[in-house]
Amino acid sequence: MTHYEDRVVTAFTYCSVLWALLGMAAGVYVAAELVWPTIDLGLPALSFGRLRTAHTTLVLFGFGVSALIATAFYSVQRTSHVRLFAPGLAWAVFYAWQGAIVLGAVSILSGWNAGKEYAELEWPFDLAITAAWVAFAVVFFGTIARRKIESIYISNWFYGALIIVVAMLHIVNSLALPVTLGKSYSLFAGAQDAVVQWWYGHNAVGFLLTGGFLGMLYYFLPKQAEQPIWSYRLSIVAFWAFVYTYIWAGPHHLHYHAVPEWLQSLGMVMSLILLAPSWATMINGIMTVSGAAKKLKADPALKFIVLALAFYGLATFEGPMLAIKSVNVFSHFTEWTIGHVHSGALGWNALITFGTYYFIVPRMAGAPLYSARLANIHFWLALAGTVLYVLSMWGAGLSQGVLWLSLDELGEVRFSFNDVMAAMQPYYLLRFLAGLAFLAGAVLMAWNLAMTFAGRRTVLVAPPAVAGAQARA
């Protein structure tokens, strides 16, 4: 019993790829509904509101969180040189999480909805998710507690912050009074509820989509580039500045809303400050990979991760800009928000996950990647899809922002809402095609990874012996 417990990593990886395909397919379908609104066929489950909620739930909590748990389990063992603590509990996390995603998606499509964005699952799921999350924490921190290496590696700080902060956010934002199995009312009302929700919503982005995936970056980027992290000190400063600052930025989602002015201004200022730790990490990543230019050309996995880093830099620059009130006045409520989210979600989260899978699946299968050529085609499809997606939503969002606020010389609105809405059609069509390209790339990856693993079992690796200064006393 000395080998790493990687079978549960394989299981999470499989499910995460499956949720990526289903979640992105749902996204492409709702994108198509904005161009051809009758393709919901009059079916409640295909109706835009429900299917879009299923899309965000599947990609965030199905694809994203499964990928984070898979890579956390993979890397925490290797940075601790010890087998996963309580492997049985790790499997319980697997079954509980995947069960919650399956039933949760079905519940949303059949009309259970708590009504809070990115937290739509109703209270029975909130409880199940909390239990699974606590078990995840026990396995993760238990492994760290039994580590053979003196220092806790940086990637684990980020995964640890993900576990702790997301637990805090989820529990507070989900506080509700259950009425029936599928219905509850929030303990907070109106403006209070809005402030709590965007503290949650923004920091789910912060600690799940940013912090969690930075954990992935800090382990897999140096591994693939075969270079140590450029600056250890910078990573310390960036980590604590990130953990401290991110939490304050939520109110920029409520600019010019019926919440106190001081809260909005504070949210804006802290969002601008957030640029510093975000880019400090990006610079650390770029400097780390700069010594591996040759490998970058040949290795599709590394290409994905470096491109992801570039989109991370773009999204974490765009975010603070959109948080400035005088910019936000134009961007708020428009497609620009959707473009911003997807430059992060596709360009950063999905690409770094794809790169990581191209790295770990061949290792866990004990065989080379089935096709490097397919992976390269995937790379270009993903890049084209993401760029086209972001550009189309920038165009749409800027148009909406300017046209909605445009006044004539008598101080009346110049364009009717319906005219502006009709003008969005070309952008919506482009976005649908962009999503389709991105999905096609993901299908190629799924095929490539499945063929790599076909007929094989997860290779069981023994932790190397630790000696010298690194060993834990």
Binding site: F48, P178, V179, I236, W404, V413, F417, N418, M421
Partner: protein, 209 residues
């Protein structure tokens, strides 16, 4: 460097690291959330604002079920163009009975905070069942099942009102007792229309922007 040696202690002790992350990440939330949610800091309900009637509440819960707030905001910003387009800007005290809040984050369709009274019930009926029959360029889904489903198909309206009463919504025992008969013979379509017509009425007859 002393802070480096301090950090060396943090990164060698999982308990300290967990505690540090918890402490550092909690500060922002405490400063921002506590003044908003603590004690009696909730905005008082706007003058004349009543909790949703049983039919309106049913309509609101259907609005939540279908995720209408994915495409429709209920938040008019204090900007000239928004006030001209939609009506008086939104005030915090108008949302005192909104659990959860439904301000939304995206306007694929127009804002609905002051849609109450703007169109006839008949217009809403046609629009919800077949949006393109009244707005040719509309990309809104049709909701044919609203017309087929009886309101409160689960028979939970009284339980829902009791839960809200426990959270401080001033429903009387009589209102709760009479709720099922208020929904008798109504469809989900009637309920959604009643909810939409109730929206944003507390500024009716006032001249402020």
């Amino acid at each position: 460097m002393s802070w480096m040696s301090l950090h060396r202690r943090l990164e060698r002790n999982a308990g300290l690291l967990i505690f540090g992350i918890l402490l550092v990440s909690a500060v922002g939330g405490m400063v921002q959330l506590l003044p908003i949610v603590a004690g009696d800091s909730h905005p008082q309900p706007a003058e004349g604002l009543a909790p949703y009637s049983p039919l309106e509440l049913e309509g609101r819960d259907i609005y939540i079920r279908e995720s209408c707030s994915t495409c429709h905001t209920q938040q008019i910003r204090p900007l000239l163009a928004e006030v001209r387009r939609y009506g008086p800007y939104s005030r915090a005290e108008e949302f005192a009975y909104d659990r959860p809040f439904l301000w939304g984050s995206k306007r694929t369709g127009p804002d609905l905070h002051r849609v109450g009274g703007r169109y006839s019930d008949e217009w809403h009926r046609l629009h919800l069942l077949d949006p393109r029959s009244v707005v040719p360029a509309s990309i809104m889904p049709a909701y044919p099942w609203f017309g087929r489903n009886a309101a409160d198909g689960h028979g939970s309206i009284q339980a829902r009102m009791r839960a809200l009463a426990r959270l401080g919504h001033p429903y009387t025992e009589q209102q709760i007792a009479e709720a099922p008969s208020a929904l008798q013979g109504k469809t989900e379509l009637d309920a959604v229309i009643a909810y939409l017509q109730s929206l944003g009425r507390s500024m009716d007859g006032k001249s402020e922007p």
